[in-house]
Amino acid sequence: MLRVALKSIAWLALATALLLAGYLWKLDRTITETFEGRRWSVPAVVYAQPLEIYPGLELSQADFISELNRVGYEAASAVRHPGQFKIGQQQVQVHLRSVQFVESKRATTTVTVTFSQKQVRTIRNLQGNEEPFLRLDPAVIGSFFPSHGEDRVILTPEQVPALLRNALKAVEDRSFDTHHGFDLRGIARAFWVNLQQRKLSQGGSTLTQQLVKSYFLDSRRTLQRKLRELAMAVILEVRFEKTDLLNAYINEINIGQAGVRAIHGFGLGSQFYFNRPLSELEPAGIATLVTIIRGPSYYNPFRHPERVRERRDRVLEILHQQQHIDDVQLAKALNSPLDVVRGARKGGTYYPAFMDLVRRDLASQYVEQDLASQGLKVFTTLAPRLQDAIEAGISDTLEHLDKHPKVLVQQESGVTEQLLQAAAVVTDVQTGEVLALAGGRDAGSDGFNRALKASRPMGSLIKPVVFALALEDGAHLATHLQDQAVEVSLPKQAAWTPQNFDKTEHGQVPLIRALADSLNLATVNLGMQLGVGRIAERLAELSGKPTKNSYPSLLLGAEPRTPLEVSELYATFASGGFATKPKTVIGVLNEQGQELSHHQFQLEQRLTPTTAAQITRAMQAVMQQGTGKSSRHAGTQTAGKTGTSDDYRDSWFAGFDASHLTVVWLGRDDNTPAGLTGAGGALKVWDQIMADIGSSPLGQNVGAGDIASLAVSERHIDYSTGLLLEGNCPLSKTRADVSVLLPLDAQLLVHPGCTSKGGFGKRLQRWFGATPES
């Protein structure tokens, strides 16, 4: 009997042992697999364009300092560490960090930049020699953190300050170096200390146990959990080196929360709370971070600064006790304030609208999963200074326009409850790179991105396409068009009788005026002659996007486009005839800094330089004589086109100079009338933006050499009638005087107001011609 019983027990014991072994084996496999691969999700970091600085650049000392702040540099009395700068008289000395650019790495070095009259004067290196230029660190503008919301910056052991390691051990796990995953003495100590209730309360968990808890399991505190945690901790200790475990802890532990984004690891924690890299923190900063991990909501330095400071000071005392910091350091640290930085934008993304477009641009080459986890570095085209300018421009101008009677009346009469909304896109005219993007009037909002998604009728913005086609068909800017009533018959519908904005017919007008004054009748007459089908085709070729509208209404812009799509069309004009794809990414590197992809400028010639130059000339006339003449920039050689859709629902302006193309849209999300014309609304925003970013004059678009070879000549005409201004004309050099390129064989009548030798000669011919005038 006994033998049977013993045998059963033995079998049972064996079975249990096997089960236990199996269980432990499974745990072991789970840990090792995950741990060995270091499979943390490291979201891709996204950078803006670095600021390029050179002598003569218009950048004041104050602006330079704010750019340094933007990339996390701090003013100091002496420049000892990377990340510090010292302000002097008209100069700044900067200790540059080592940084990864898209094509190279820069080692840490010191430079001195001098200023004079709001311009950069010289840049000198450490040896005192002048450098031709300086590239600042690219600003981080966001990261693609994954849907489960963890965000971190991975640190290698070399990047972790010794003080942090010591602090963690001192405060969290005194016997870390010697225990095997759990610490009986530690548990006892904690028990005792907590009983006393006066000293620093310790948890009984070792760092290893905390690591397991954080990495694998949720926070249910059942006995089963605790035992499992213990087992895994032991396995980890057996499998891995202490240094690895500590480093894993440093990268893993939860250290904060920002909305849906969970901040993990000291690397990101340092950026999140102090806007500095961990290596630059003083003992006070390190002690603060060590305080926070005990309970990031309880020890939230923004909400409970006194509590955090108190514990921080205790941590500092322990560090001092254990001789990790000396008397001087302790005194200094105890005296320093918490110093946490409440950043302007605490979400994972600082420029959500722009990031949307980056994501879209990367989608063809990278899956979301990789972007969210592989630690990639994405270098983009964003120019933060321009972005700040458009955000301010939109916000300031809309505040104003909100009070405009035509805008208010929509709200007061109950038509809508919504405020005006806006979107803007700024691109480089030559390269197509997107320098700034606003998806709405509230820039930081992560909501509906109107620049990419608000598809609205483009209205008069389509007209340059019609006129470009006319020019290609042999017309010129002085060609006479008929701005008179037209009836377009449509299949199965009543005939379409478009109207001009001012409900008037203007009769015979030169082509340049038909475009600049945005005359609907002239456009429709012209468009019907050219053929709607051909215009639809040309629109597709010049804008990169086909249209579904093959009806005459296309001529007046019954064609929905987003602000970004409008920008792509106008890029073809602004660039001198090249279809230039908007792009946001320069290059993508992997975690090791090797290039994964490079994104180049994409352009293709679609208009001849002469046609492009003439359309641009006409769009300059928009600003000087036409619908855009109320612009502040009318006299400074910019070009543009206003657009207003039916019932004033959408207010558009697309305008450019020699460097930047900016497209602005104003409207309401529920499609009720904005109440403003293109000139009254979008142009005002554009004006403000251009004032902030500065403008560079267009100048000549077609050179003398080209003019000679293209059989055209530069002439002056009267804007109103299209008649030639030659000789002594009262209209010369007035607002009515427009210079245009005309074919050499163009037959034009001279304006009657002009008196010239040519005119006298004509009179002479009449005398000798004999027929007396009556």
Binding site: Y54, L603, G694, K757, E773
Partner: protein
Amino acid sequence: MNSFLSPLPLLRPLTLFLLATSLAGCLGGGGNNNASPPPVAVEDRSTVGSNNTNGESTNNNSNTGTAQPSQAEVSKSNVTLALLEKSEVARSQGNLKEAVTHVERAIRINPRRADLWVQLAQLQLALDEPTIAEGYARKAISLAGSRVDWKRDAWLVIADAKQAQGMTGEADAIRQRWRTAQG
């Protein structure tokens, strides 16, 4: 007006004299049938009026191209030179992709320098991208202004690009035209 002359025959010699001098003036000057266009003031867009894509404007009023280049323009030339050197070093070491990034960086600072676009076009040719190369070369031509040398270089890239795409006839025609261009 004829009535002014006819009743005063004594004035005829005077009138004839005036007519003669006026005619001389008329033939010397311009009428609307006379195709002598007024001179066009054109800036050499290779050096004037360009600015930083980061939004800093070098608003320098030199629309005529005759003003002294500003310090910013001189600096930008230096920057461009330095970056072209880097690009050349990379190219000579066979790092074509790196060479491209240096030229692109130069273009961001000085977007209307036609010779930079020529460089980029040549690099794209070397990278076996003839269509892209042709696009950049045409861009260079549109920006070259009076710099016939840059135009010639750009056209020669187009010729090579066409050659690479099998359009030998067109390639030869272009070379024929541009090989001898002075600049």
